[in-house]
């Protein structure tokens, strides 16, 4: 793994962390509303997978701020979207759960658990049919693996031999229900084993995430077949801002806090001589500045115009005939 990738990873993970911590603060102040699902603790999966996956399409779930940042979306347009402003990536019409940027091959953001999984299968079909070389990555939580869409998609991706990388972010909780109370099969990668190669990887460790996704990407794109990775990870925050999160034990929280992915990468990066303290200090300062600017931008951005209520419903051909 090259030095520049690890440097980039530290920057993006720190950016994601500070972005979300700040989003939480702004939510408390009332500048952000609605549902806000934070991924603090899961940055190694989001950044590691995105960096390793490179150019292909990415479909993710509603906890997607860090995925979006890693894919190249600007913190400004993202923060403005959370503020519901005109300058937001979805013009303030999508909010936290609906971030899309087709120019970056980033297709959300989806507020219905598991609904994005068939989208990824369809996109992989289209890419393969049109002769594109890049595969498609789809991420979902442990909760999605108990729903019908999930099995339908594993079946179709395997049946049609599509280049899809299934990324299961197992953070142990589907809202407030722990995995052992929701899933008869506890080792989630085994739920995919009958359909495709599947493995379980430590999702708190950037290096392991990056390596696993790099290898999987190589596999899906050369073999033209799907692959499955279950990442064991954790969200430090509750499910959303409206969730007290009191269903988790302090001991469990401590176990995962001790392996905080951002701190882990910082320690390992320095230990392995990939960067030094000065670099970390520089990045930390730069990130603080960037987020400060993003919040300022979001605060100062205008609200969408009233007429925006009626745009983006149909394409122009139909807009003409809609009263």
């Amino acid at each position: 793994m090259s030095k520049s990738i690890v440097e980039r990873a530290y920057y993006l993970m720190k950016l994601g962390r500070v972005f979300e911590e700040r989003a939480k603060e702004e939510y408390m102040k009332g500048n952000i509303s609605g549902f806000l699902h934070l991924a603090i603790g899961e940055e190694a999966v989001h950044v590691g997978a995105t960096l390793a996956f490179g150019k292909g399409d990415i479909f993710v779930h509603y906890r997607e701020h860090v995925w979006a940042l890693a894919k190249g979306m600007s913190p400004k347009s993202l923060m403005a979207e959370l503020f519901g402003k005109k300058t937001g990536v979805s013009k303030g019409k999508g909010g936290s759960m609906h971030l899309y940027e087709p120019l970056l091959n980033f297709y959300g953001g989806n507020a219905i658990v598991g609904a994005q999984i068939p989208h990824a299968v369809g996109a992989a079909y289209a890419r393969k049919y049109l002769g594109h070389t890049e595969g498609v990555l789809v991420a979902f939580g442990d909760g999605a693996t108990n729903a019908g869409n999930y099995y339908e998609s594993l079946n179709m991706a395997a049946l049609w031999e599509l280049p899809v990388l299934f990324v299961n972010e197992n953070n142990l909780y589907a809202i407030g229900t722990r995995i052992d109370r929701a899933s008869a099969v506890k080792e989630l990668y085994k739920k995919a084993k009958e359909f495709m190669p599947a493995e379980r990887v430590d999702g708190m460790d950037f290096f392991q995430v990056y390596d696993a996704v790099s290898k999987a990407k190589e596999y899906i794109e050369t073999e033209g077949k799907p692959y499955y990775i279950e990442f064991l990870t954790y969200r430090y925050e509750p499910h959303s801002m409206s969730d007290p999160g009191d269903y988790r034990s302090p001991r469990e929280l401590k176990v995962f806090h001790d392996k905080d992915p951002v701190e882990f990468l910082k320690r390992e990066g320095i230990k392995r001589g990939l960067f030094d303290e000065n670099f970390v200090k520089e990045i930390d300062e730069r990130v603080e500045e960037e987020i400060e600017e993003a919040v300022k931008f979001a605060l100062e951005s205008p609200e969408p115009e009233d007429a925006e209520l009626f745009t983006d419903i149909f394409c122009e051909v139909c807009t003409d005939v809609v009263p």
Binding site: K91, K93, I117, H119, Y125, N149
Partner: protein, 312 residues
């Protein structure tokens, strides 16, 4: 369409090798192969979900749901996903896709295989709902639906499939403009799908009994709805009737009558009339089944009764 544009693909249950349950895709598999005419497992939510992904990935998919009855399984993908992605992305996402399905009360298939569900689609913002009431609308309409950069629900009627009809050559076909299939000056009757044909059968009886002339409007699109053609006709005839096969309560017909009442109240010389199916699950028994939906006889009877009641 498929010959001209290789990004057009079809997916659905039995659409390929088997030739389509209603034979509507017959021959396509042999001509275009399994990569373009894709047999799927029985998994409706994923069929529509896959089509969404295909549209995002650069194709123009036509997802076929074998009958409308099974589309309820795909309603998350239709309502939460395909109808809303453009809006939620601030216009960044475009979905050139069609979900094609036949509906309607057929012959003795009972409640889970025999119903009309247009109300569910027409009430969803962002979803274009087109209907093919005859061969001409099926030919030009489906082509138009595939060409559009928006998601379309394309409804057909199971009992229209076996009917033999000529395609009338049209210079242009705008599905968002309704057709006046028969001109008249005393009563406007709006309909589509099989009920359009049953209405046309009833018209001579109505005209004779009431000594009037009836104007019949054929809708190609339910949403958006061509209110202009309806309004012009009602302003002329002063009387409005809509005939649909769906159960009456909460129907699409109810929506059109509301619009007519709101916008054209002072043009009306009689209360608007809805002729719809009964509020019952479709029964298996043929006699009861026919009682549950409008027939040419019932359409004539109800309009004549209504006409006499209101001095037409």
């Amino acid at each position: 369409m498929m010959e001209r544009d290789e990004t057009v693909v079809i997916l659905g249950e039995d659409v390929g090798f088997y030739g389509g349950n209603y034979r509507v895709t017959e021959g396509l598999y042999a001509k275009y192969g399994e990569k373009r005419v894709i047999d799927t497992p029985i998994a409706e939510n994923s069929i529509v979900g896959n089509a969404i992904g295909m549209a995002l990935g650069g194709l123009r998919p036509v997802a076929e749901i074998m009958t409308v009855n099974f589309i309820l399984i795909a309603m998350d993908q239709i309502v939460n996903q395909m109808a809303k992605l453009r809006y939620m992305s601030g216009g960044k996402i475009e979905l050139p896709m069609v979900v094609r399905t036949p509906q309607g009360v057929s012959k003795q298939l009972a409640a889970q295989h025999s119903q009309s569900l247009e109300r569910f689609f027409t009430s969803v913002p962002g979803l274009i709902t087109m209907v093919a009431s005859d061969a001409t609308a099926a030919y030009y309409g489906l082509k138009k639906a595939i060409e559009l950069d928006d998601p379309v629900i394309f409804l057909e009627h199971e009992l229209l499939y076996p009917m033999k009809m000529e395609i009338q050559k049209r210079e242009s076909f705008d599905p968002f403009r309704a057709d006046i299939v028969k001109e008249g000056k005393d009563i406007t009757v709006v309909s589509y799908l099989k009920m359009l044909h049953d209405t046309l059968k009833a018209v001579p009886v109505i005209e004779k009994e009431l000594d009037v002339s009836v104007e019949v409007i054929n809708l190609h699109s339910l949403n958006p709805l061509d209110m202009e053609t309806i309004a012009n006709s009602v302003k002329k005839t002063k009387r409005f009737v809509i005939v649909t096969e769906e159960p009456k309560t909460g129907s699409f017909a109810a929506e059109v009558v509301s619009k007519v009442s709101e916008e054209l109240f002072y043009h009306l010389d009689a209360p608007p009339l809805r002729i719809c199916g009964e509020d019952v699950p479709t029964p298996y028994n043929r006699k009861l089944e026919l009682l549950s939906i409008p027939t040419p006889e019932k359409i004539a009877q109800q309009i004549v009764y209504w006409g006499r009641e209101h001095g037409i």
